[in-house]
């Protein structure tokens, strides 16, 4: 593709045909248009993000401007949006639910994901590596509703049998499912980060007599720490925003969990469950959009941190 203009020019020089010259002119003329089109594609992402934020914000605004008691909103356990005569909009239990299920999921997913990344990048050989990579990508392709279904129908009864918990859909169930969902992201980003460490580091460590584990622990982890952190944060972002799977697997109960097997409820699941039947334009509907903003801000913070960390890597490499 790249060398077409030069061959064209050569062709016209030889005077074989004017067709090539015309083609050249057309290409030159269309170039700005194509450039413009590609630019538009780039800008569309920005426009869409701002558009989404704008619409969520617009729906939430009437509640934000004074109608919603923000102290109650963030500190009350009472989420009773359809109560008569006075509804209560307290999201503390939902916030704790989201944070606890994400935290627990990360406790499982981070060691598992980073371990898998280390194995794939450092220990496995050709064939095994390819098989593992394909399988892990396959894991990422399973739709979240299928994960939720696995949690509900398969994991739930197992948890009841093993732990003696009264109900199988709970914090533990939800976080296992979320962990399995965020592992593929952590593995693929983490593996890239490990791959980016120059081989000369490994060779230097080997020549000093380091064992393979020492290379991983003492050389690769410090060298790739920003990339690995970014992998973890992207996993966290995935877990916070996940909706369908946690709706089905966590039990969807408004309470602060006291044990691993207590059912909980998350912010995202609340929106998914209630928006469909909320009366459009009424406070309940708008408060759900305010919750959407809270989730938006949470994931934004996590993604921004991940982004800054990744940028940190680039700068380090530039130095």
């Amino acid at each position: 593709m790249n060398d077409r203009p030069t061959t064209n020019r050569r062709a016209t020089k030889r005077g074989r045909s004017r067709l090539h010259a015309i083609l050249q002119v057309v290409l030159d003329r269309t170039e700005p248009a194509v450039e413009w089109l590609i630019q538009l594609c780039g800008w569309s992402a920005i426009l869409l993000v701002f558009g989404i934020f704008f619409f969520v914000f617009r729906e939430a605004l009437p509640m934000l401007s004074g109608k919603l008691n923000l102290t109650e909103f963030f500190t009350s356990l009472e989420w009773r949006p359809t109560a008569e005569p006075v509804p209560h909009y307290g999201i503390l239990a939902l916030l704790v639910g989201t944070i606890s299920v994400t935290g627990l999921a990360m406790l499982m997913a981070v060691p598992l994901g980073l371990g898998a990344a280390v194995y794939i990048s450092e220990f496995s050989s050709g064939r095994m590596r390819e098989i593992l990579k394909v399988l892990i990508e396959l894991l990422a392709a399973i739709p979240s509703v299928v994960w939720g279904f696995i949690g509900y129908m398969v994991l739930g009864p197992i948890i009841i049998r093993l732990t003696g918990a009264p109900v199988g859909v709970n914090l533990l169930n939800g976080s296992i499912i979320l962990a399995l969902m965020s592992v593929p992201i952590i593995v693929s980003v983490g593996e890239d980060a490990l791959k980016a460490v120059p081989d000369s580091y490994r060779e230097a460590a080997l020549s000093l007599g380091a064992s393979r584990w020492e290379i991983v622990y003492r050389v690769l982890f410090p060298a790739a720490k920003n990339g690995l952190l970014a992998a973890v944060l992207l996993g966290v972002g995935r877990a916070i925003g996940e909706t369908m799977a946690v709706l089905m697997a966590t039990g969807h109960a408004i309470q602060i969990p006291h044990s691993l097997v207590d059912p909980i409820r998350t912010l995202t699941a609340t929106i998914a469950a209630e928006l469909g039947e909320a009366v459009q334009g009424e406070p309940h509907y708008r408060v759900l959009f305010v919750i959407g903003l809270v989730v938006f801000v949470l994931t934004f913070i996590v993604n921004l941190t991940a982004d800054l960390v990744v940028k940190g890597i680039r700068n380090e490499r530039a130095v």
């Binding site: 009841i160 109900v167 199988g168 039990g251 408004i254 309470q255 409820r265 039947e277 009366v279 459009q280």
Partner: protein, 297 residues
């Protein structure tokens, strides 16, 4: 290799477009019923049976929830909204404001809400008062032993309350029928998003209790008899009992299933509604486990 995915994508886009075109056409000519998730199966059953005898008529059915259906009704996107609760005053106002007509309510059947427990649970009957103490705010019943059930049979003494999401018509109706208008639910119940999900979770969870339409029963669960007060014999959730008046030994937790139109229905929608209230339509109601409002045989 490169051509294959592109072709595939083209086919997909093409078939989607075609599907959208085909999908859109009946909406212009037919009747659309949108709303309550509880009533989706029922509306689907009506649509199929109606289409069998009136092949020229196209009935489009979709769920999404009572609130969604009413919003569509207000906007004129749909002629009939199905609802498992009565329209709220604010929704009535929106219809008047936007459409300059009154919304009209049609009772097309009744739904008896059954109280489900696991099949291993020895309990046979429960009173409304006890249900209120289990589900209601400040309620004192939290353990099966308080109801005289041996906890060993259920592996756990704690009663796992299974409820619905707070915007569902079933949730609102159960609150009014069991706890009364002023008392609210105890927080911490497991709120499921569909009528089937409640029953499925009860079937998986020995120490659970849940409420759902009596048409949603599954193997592995048991429906309790309901009495108004403790000590009075309970009434089983059957079509016969649900048809009786509540003060004449009828099943106490029965609610109307509603269809709403803006103004009196016209032409195709009227034909369809008349058919629903006639024998064939009411037969569908009975077949799906609901209670008819008119004779079906």
């Amino acid at each position: 290799m490169n051509m294959l995915p592109r072709n595939w994508f083209g086919w997909l886009a093409g078939s989607l477009l075609l599907g959208a075109m085909v999908g859109c056409r009946p909406a212009a000519e037919g009747v659309c019923v949108e709303g309550s998730d509880t009533m989706v199966n029922l509306a689907q059953g009506w649509a199929e049976n109606y289409h069998a005898t009136h092949p020229e008529a196209m009935i489009q059915v979709s769920g999404g929830g009572t609130g969604v259906g009413i919003a569509s009704l207000v906007d004129g996107n749909c002629e009939i909204a199905s609802a498992s609760r009565k329209m709220k005053e604010k929704e009535n106002e929106r219809v008047r404001e936007k459409r300059h007509m009154e919304p009209i309510e049609h009772v097309v059947g009744y739904d008896a809400l059954a109280v489900y427990v696991h099949k291993d649970n020895p309990l046979e009957s429960i009173s409304i008062e006890e249900l209120a103490e289990i589900y209601g705010q400040g309620g004192r019943i939290t353990c099966w032993s308080q109801l005289g059930v041996e906890p060993k049979l259920l592996r756990n003494d704690t009663i796992i309350r299974i409820s619905r999401q707070n915007s569902s018509g079933t949730y609102v109706y159960f609150r009014e029928a069991v706890m009364g208008k002023t008392r609210d639910y105890k927080l911490g119940s497991i709120d499921q998003n569909g009528s089937v999900d409640v029953v499925a979770l009860v079937a998986n969870t020995p120490s659970a209790i849940g409420y759902s339409g009596m048409g949603y029963s599954l193997p592995g669960v048991k429906m309790l008899k309901i009495s108004k007060h403790k000590g009075v014999p309970g009434i089983a959730p059957t079509v016969e009992n649900a048809k009786k008046k509540k003060n004449e030994g009828g099943y106490p937790i029965t609610r109307p299933l509603l269809l709403y139109t803006v103004g009196q229905p016209k032409e195709k929608a009227k034909q369809f509604l008349d058919w629903i209230l006639d024998k064939p339509g009411q037969k569908v109601v009975v077949e799906l486990g609901y209670v008819p409002v008119a004779p079906y045989e």
